[in-house]
Symmetry: C2
Subunit: 340 residues, 2 copies
């Protein structure tokens, strides 16, 4: 994550914003009859150099990649990008300008795949230091203002507390028949410095060592892991699971602004025990959790699949359940007992 | 509602903000032993002239009142005030400055009743014209900033859409054992002009006539109604129900910014049929609904008590269910089919 030039460890003013901006777009064929011959209805048909151009607009670059027939997974200088047949995911941290990618990816999807947008999700937790972001990312209100120029059926929400930790979502208010989909995100702050030691690149350990020794490798034993350990610190991993499945973890270990994000679309009927495992590995002081479940998701509603997390060491702060046209969402925040 | 001098029907620039600010405070004895002799643990012991002073700070005044042993209900120049033994409710519209009342009512409750705040709810829908409000009411962010100077355990939320209709709530994040309580609010805009005709004070009808002819009287047949018809238009009513129960309705009929609020703490197991009745009387284009249920409320959770409203003419826009320490809340918005 040093590639952005933001992490200057010599300065008192140093800040690195681990908090990601997350974009997920589902595409579908335009349905028009005048399709050029060379079109393939598959986002993975977009040439790699065009993706590199796209990432340039966002101010990040590819540092590692693992490509399978069903899923292309890229570790970026700031977080991750995933392309499957119809789903595009871009997650970027630091002061990247993720919203710059939306119009270009729509154009690429049209040009190479004859695709149009079917559904879209832009989300993020509140930043530690919003004033350090580039326009329009300094406030969610200005992000919404920009997104509303692209979509006429956008719906913008804020969950959690205005005067505390919160999480923002922009999605489309549409009633398209949707895909079976369930996505869990666990966004952690105030992490245990002892755990974060693993992710400082000063121990002579490589990425594979860190994945194993930190306990990350045991979370989802059957995934193909592509990890990257940054200089002087920071860690990113993409894990490929069967059937278009993925997991991605990004770690900013510095104590002043420690941040870990965990995201997966693995299908589970009940995530409660799994969430406990993740919290045990990272031991965060504060946790924001979200679970999206589409109407056709195998887990049923997100409320059923993400029940109360019972751990002696955590107390629930907030829990909210939202129903959209094609998805529902459970949002919850927990705080470790020793955190005031 | 003409008393505020805001409704100047001769001007193109006329706007009347029907949207209320709503404050509900539950008090409890301080528990200290050095209580003065004259103290009564009852908010109704606060002298009327002190309440009039309090309302002066908010920029409204009493226009009608109905006082019973268990409940004192006041119709105000801008909406309503209710005092029962431990519960204080103040609801004010226009450009009133409701937050000015919080510190003074806390002082009055301490002086006359030896009461301290047990729980608090400040809420409102988004204003039509926030820029016309007085400081700090021009944005919820600035209201929260003020409230945070008074309370160190305040939690502020936004439900609904940032780029559409939304509803704000400030409450206390406490775990006090609480009271059985359930409160329904239905906030309606884009109302049927034919229905609104009833509330223009040009027909020679008095308040009692209007209550009857509009269908309001039939909504809750067993309540003692105190209504007020304003010049040149506008209507307010307080209804007293058994056991500390109340209903209150406020109507701004002007087509450009029509607004009706309905609120009651009547105990029902399922509000769905009742909501339909209210919508049938007023025929709003847009509806924001909230139901609070305390942990000890007879209805169980608000989610169970406010199910989907099935009416052919309305489609659901949003539904969100929030769990707080001592209360839960169901928020929902509906839009009539002919409204784009």
């Amino acid at each position: 994550m040093d590639l952005s030039g933001m992490r200057d460890t010599g300065s008192e003013l140093t800040h690195y914003e681990g908090t990601e901006k997350l974009l997920e777009i589902w595409f579908e064929p335009s349905g028009k009859s005048d399709i050029p011959d060379k079109v393939t209805h598959d986002l993975k048909a977009i040439p790699r150099e065009r993706l590199v151009e796209l990432l340039g607009l966002v101010h990040c670059e590819i540092v590692s990649e693992k490509c399978r027939d069903d899923l292309h997974a890229y570790v970026l200088s700031e977080s991750s990008m995933f392309l499957s047949t119809k789903r595009f995911i871009l997650k970027t941290c630091g002061t990247t300008t993720l919203l710059n990618a939306i119009e270009p990816i729509m154009k690429l999807a049209k040009e190479f795949c004859d695709f149009v947008v079917k559904d879209l999700f832009y989300s993020r937790k509140n930043f530690f230091r919003p004033e350090l972001q580039q326009v329009p990312h300094q406030s969610f209100a200005s992000e919404v203002q920009y997104l509303d120029t692209l979509f006429d059926n956008g719906a913008a929400y804020m969950l959690g507390r205005i005067n505390g930790d919160c999480w923002y979502l922009y999605t489309l208010d549409n009633t398209n028949q949707n895909q079976p989909d369930q996505t869990l995100e666990i966004l952690m702050t105030n992490l245990d410095p002892k755990v974060m030691k693993h992710f400082e690149n000063t121990t002579g350990r490589n990425g594979k060592d860190v994945t194993k020794e930190s306990g990350i490798a045991d979370l989802l034993p059957d995934c193909q892991i592509d990890e990257f350990l940054f200089e002087p610190c920071g860690y990113s991993m993409n894990g490929l699971l069967p059937k278009d499945g993925y997991v991605t973890i990004h770690i900013t270990p510095e104590e002043k602004y420690s941040y870990v994000s965990f995201e997966t679309n693995i299908e589970m009927k009940d995530y409660s025990e799994f969430v406990k495992k993740v919290l045990t590995v990272f031991n965060p002081g504060k946790v924001v959790m979200t679970l999206f479940a589409s109407k056709t998701a195998k887990c049923g509603t997100s409320r059923k699949a993400l029940r109360e997390v019972f751990m002696d060491t955590y107390r629930r702060h907030d829990r909210q359940f939202s129903e959209f046209q094609c998805y529902d969402l459970t949002f919850a925040t927990y705080i470790r007992d020793d955190i005031v």
